[in-house]
Amino acid sequence: MSYEQVFREYNTATAFTPTLPLEVQPRYAVLASIVALLCISGAFALASSKKNMVIKFLEYLILSVFGSLFFGIAAVLSSNSFGVYV
């Protein structure tokens, strides 16, 4: 595509809208951190319990998955909140 074609396309395209505005990201970062902390803490507590191994593993797996996902989201949102844009 030539420069003129891309330039014309740029001028007719719609402006980018963020998935999550930067102003609300600190709030969601705190929420995600809390959920991640609760899930991971629960997982640690479960790992030390005397339950049946299979049930323990399944519950631990679910808590780990959710805890990890919320941790990942919290890491990204927290980083943006502190001005380190990822």
């Binding site: 330039f7 395209a13 809208t17 963020p18 998935t19 191994m53 941790f71 990942g72 844009y85 990822v86």
Partner: protein, 474 residues
């Protein structure tokens, strides 16, 4: 006897013109310049030249290319070369070409080609205005001055129209200063310039042959402003879809090409000069550096090699920096500035699925500055796939690679790097356009990548917690 006289006349005529070596390129004599009006503007720290031409096709076939000759001293220093039809917004396609004409005295002419959209028929006329900006400025004259002195610059340029075609009428003027003085005056008074208002005007001359040369013009003019030259600019632009921001960081190596101090620096003399001069009066040294940033910028910072510099302030889109020391002629200064803008001001969503178009300004900086070498790097999010990249001005080279940054756990940000030479502020609004694909999967890959590491750690913890490593005797 007649033959003898003929040969002497021929030799004399030949010496008046510049002969051309056989191997070099010479445009065919398809045009004649009916009018050639050249205006050199020395207002800024780089030269801006406008050549208004009325040309006629003297060939037997329609022609759509005009070769505009550029003298040797400006070769490799052209920042911008444009042409337009006067009185309209119609710009013509222009480009600099590698062909040169080498003269027998070792001098040479390079060319810019102006492409006329509709070929001009034989004996038809056509008018256009060429605008050329050079990374060239007058040299300080005298070379050393006191802090309180005015700064004068000397420029040497061609007197007659410099063209590969015959010129019927040519004029030349220099504008942009309150004071002009021609030095090294030619003996022929008809060649000398005359002051008309705020310009010095030469000519008109009639019937100029191709590449005909007279003594060059030497003009001294008042220019009480620093000659800001950025010898190297490293401009980094980071795109973040998660934060919806466009982060800019610029590293400058700056010098003042103006007159040097004759006695060395004196803080007392500087303070006296600053107190005596009104705030609107310009000086030959840089006490402040004013950067014009995109609207809506935030998160500004200013550092140099020593550390954070607190002497700066932001006023709307003006980021005013006060360096640790004023920058006099011949002095250098390097510093880094940075700021952030909303991504929505620069990024558009294409109609094609998962496609985006990014438009990044070529420069944001001082109003009156030239740039010798510029490296512009644009960092697209990790996982972006480039579909198209283009710049509004010619570049030295373009490279594509990756670079890891915070939370880049895969290949890293996609880095697009342009290298430019001889930019000027006139082209600052030019836009680099990048069309790229960034899928939803690539967008969510960042937190998922972090989550995977945490998940593996947690599962490893579970495994280690439930393996019995105690040693017992059975």
């Amino acid at each position: 006897m007649n033959t003898h006289i003929f040969y002497w006349l021929f030799a004399t005529m030949a010496l008046c013109f510049r002969t051309v070596l056989c191997e070099s390129f010479t445009p065919t004599a398809s045009w004649e310049n009916l009018e050639y009006k050249r205006v050199l503007d020395v207002t800024k720290g780089y030269f801006a030249e406008k050549i208004a031409l009325r040309v006629k096709n003297v060939d037997s076939i329609p022609i759509s290319e005009y070769y505009l000759a550029l003298p040797a001293h400006s070769a490799g220093k052209v920042s911008i070369f444009t042409a337009a039809i006067p009185g309209t917004d119609t710009y013509l396609n222009c480009q600099l070409v590698p062909n040169i004409t080498v003269f027998n005295d070792g001098d040479f002419a390079s060319y810019g080609v102006v492409h006329i959209p509709t070929p001009i028929e034989p004996n038809q006329e056509f008018s256009f205005v060429a605008a050329i900006y050079y990374n060239v400025v007058g040299i300080p004259y005298p070379e050393h001055i006191a802090i309180t002195d005015d700064q004068y610059l000397l420029t040497e340029t061609d007197r007659l129209p410099f063209s590969a075609y015959r010129t019927y009428e040519g004029t030349f003027s220099i504008t942009g200063s309150d004071s002009f003085e021609e030095i090294n005056l030619p003996e022929n008074e008809n060649l000398r310039g005359s002051i008309e208002g705020k310009s010095i005007v030469f000519g008109p001359w009639n019937d100029i042959q191709p590449f005909e040369k007279e003594e060059p013009v030497n003009v001294v003019y008042l220019h009480n402003a620093p000659l800001s030259d950025v010898t190297f600019l490293k401009r980094d632009v980071w795109v973040s879809h998660w934060a919806s921001t466009l982060e800019f960081e610029e590293y400058y190596e700056l010098t003042n090409r103006g007159a040097k101090l004759e006695k060395g620096f004196s803080r007392l003399e500087l303070m006296k000069d600053q107190q005596q001069k009104l705030s609107i009066q310009r000086t030959h040294y840089m006490a402040l550096i004013e950067m014009i940033l995109p609207k809506g910028s935030f998160g500004h910072y200013y550092t140099d090699l020593v550390g954070m510099v607190s002497t700066s302030h932001v006023q709307e889109d003006h980021f005013v920096l006060k360096p640790r020391y004023p920058i006099f002629g011949g002095w250098n200064y390097n510093f880094t500035i940075g700021w952030t803008n909303q991504l929505s001001d620069f990024l558009r969503v294409s109609d094609e699925e998962d496609m985006y178009i990014l438009s990044v300004p070529l420069l944001d900086g001082q109003q009156d500055s030239s740039y010798d070498n510029t490296q512009l790097s644009i960092y697209l999010p990790e996982g972006a796939k480039i579909a198209n990249v283009d710049a509004p001005v010619p570049f030295v080279n373009l490279s594509l690679n990756t670079e890891k940054s915070y939370f880049d756990l895969n290949k890293g940000h996609v880095k697009v790097t342009f290298n430019f030479k001889n930019l000027a502020n006139e082209i600052a609004d030019g836009r680099i356009l990048i069309k790229y694909q960034y899928t939803q999967a690539a967008f969510y890959k960042k937190p998922v990548s972090i989550a995977i590491y945490i998940f593996v750690a947690l599962m490893s913890f579970f495994l280690l917690k439930n393996i019995n490593l105690t040693v017992t005797d059975k």
